[in-house]
Symmetry: C2
Subunit: 212 residues, 2 copies
């Protein structure tokens, strides 16, 4: 990346990656800023600015090489590395995440799950063991985990996040519907399930201004 990159550009990176992967899967080799803009509901000039920001893909008039650009953005996103994940909370959301097909392909591997419900601990889902949350401090440090998925009820989220930090976890993907307090050296990204549902509700009320 070329120096400072705005948060807005960073938020768009996963969308670029997704669209470029789809294009690649469909056998598309080159794409113009015009065509990519239409797919992503961005202006061609916005696309050119963003890609310029990623560095070295400005080939005015020739379009962008789909595979190279996808690989480059994947590297910026850190998808060229392996991430070992643990899921805290073996309920419906935790299980949906553990089975989500694309994560493993992208290098995110679920290693274990933890839960406080004794009824769940006897199970092993898809070869992933579920441990009692009381054993977190005993087991987690030996598991070489880089990301914890937090899928516990909101009231338990903050205490669990504190314990994860003490166990050395520095990145949390948070599905609990609450904002976590955390030290500056821990990254927390919240998943807000309702947000896209609210956008749908907006469009049902007002029509889709996004569409050309």
């Amino acid at each position: 990346m070329n120096g400072y990159v705005s948060d807005a550009v960073i938020r768009r990176l996963p969308g670029y990656y997704r669209h470029l992967r789809e294009l690649e899967e469909n056998g598309v080799v080159q794409i113009s800023s015009q065509e990519l803009g239409e797919r992503m509901s961005l202006t061609p000039s916005q696309i050119r600015q963003d890609i310029n920001c990623f560095g070295g893909f400005g080939r005015q008039g020739y379009g962008y090489p789909v595979h190279e650009l996808k690989e480059h953005i994947g590297e910026i996103l850190g998808l060229n590395k392996k991430h070992r994940m643990v899921i805290i909370g073996a309920g419906r959301i935790g299980n949906a995440v553990s089975r989500y097909p694309s994560f493993r392909r992208e290098g995110f591997e679920t290693v274990a799950m933890f839960d406080s419900d004794p009824a769940l601990l006897t199970e092993e889902k898809d070869g992933i063991a579920i441990y009692d949350i009381s054993r977190l401090e005993e087991l987690l440090p030996g598991m070489d985990i880089s990301i914890a998925v937090l899928a516990v009820p909101a009231p338990a989220a903050q205490e669990t996040a504190n314990r994860l930090y003490e166990c050395g976890i520095r990145a949390i993907w948070n599905f609990a519907p609450t904002d976590l307090q955390h030290p500056a050296d821990m990254e927390v990204v919240n998943v807000h399930m309702s947000d896209t549902l609210h956008i749908l509700s907006y469009r049902m009320t007002h029509g889709n201004t996004d569409r050309k």
Copy 2:
């Protein structure tokens, strides 16, 4: 809303709603653009522009009334209406959605589920019946549904979306990791589970430029 509203503003609306609801729950009555901006990682000037766009809340120097602004944005989002939902696909994602606690509170009620797996059809989850997908055309039109949640595997998504359209559904909340082709009078909003995970991966690689 005051005339044309950009897609970027619309995308921020659910975040405004979420933060204002949290503030209200915490007993906050008024908030300045400065404070709201800090919570939402937006500049105070961006906040003022956005809220100006929603209409009638510009009270320079006094801050915004939290409850009124939340209610107003809720109305813009259509959250003052009831939405009856059906979930297609009673697997892990479908079940996670059917149980998500805040949806009912916000007026989104899951009425029924459909699945093609005979093993699932005998079950009734939390009082929500699961019907055979072959009965979609028979049952759906009588259910007064406004939103279909699509939680089927990607290869089945397009055909299912087509059938939903034929049954009169005009809004799909799509969890299937695929882009759907659809008529202009059907709204489709995609949920991309991986996007926030990719943002987390980015921050683990580069640090969080979002933070002040």
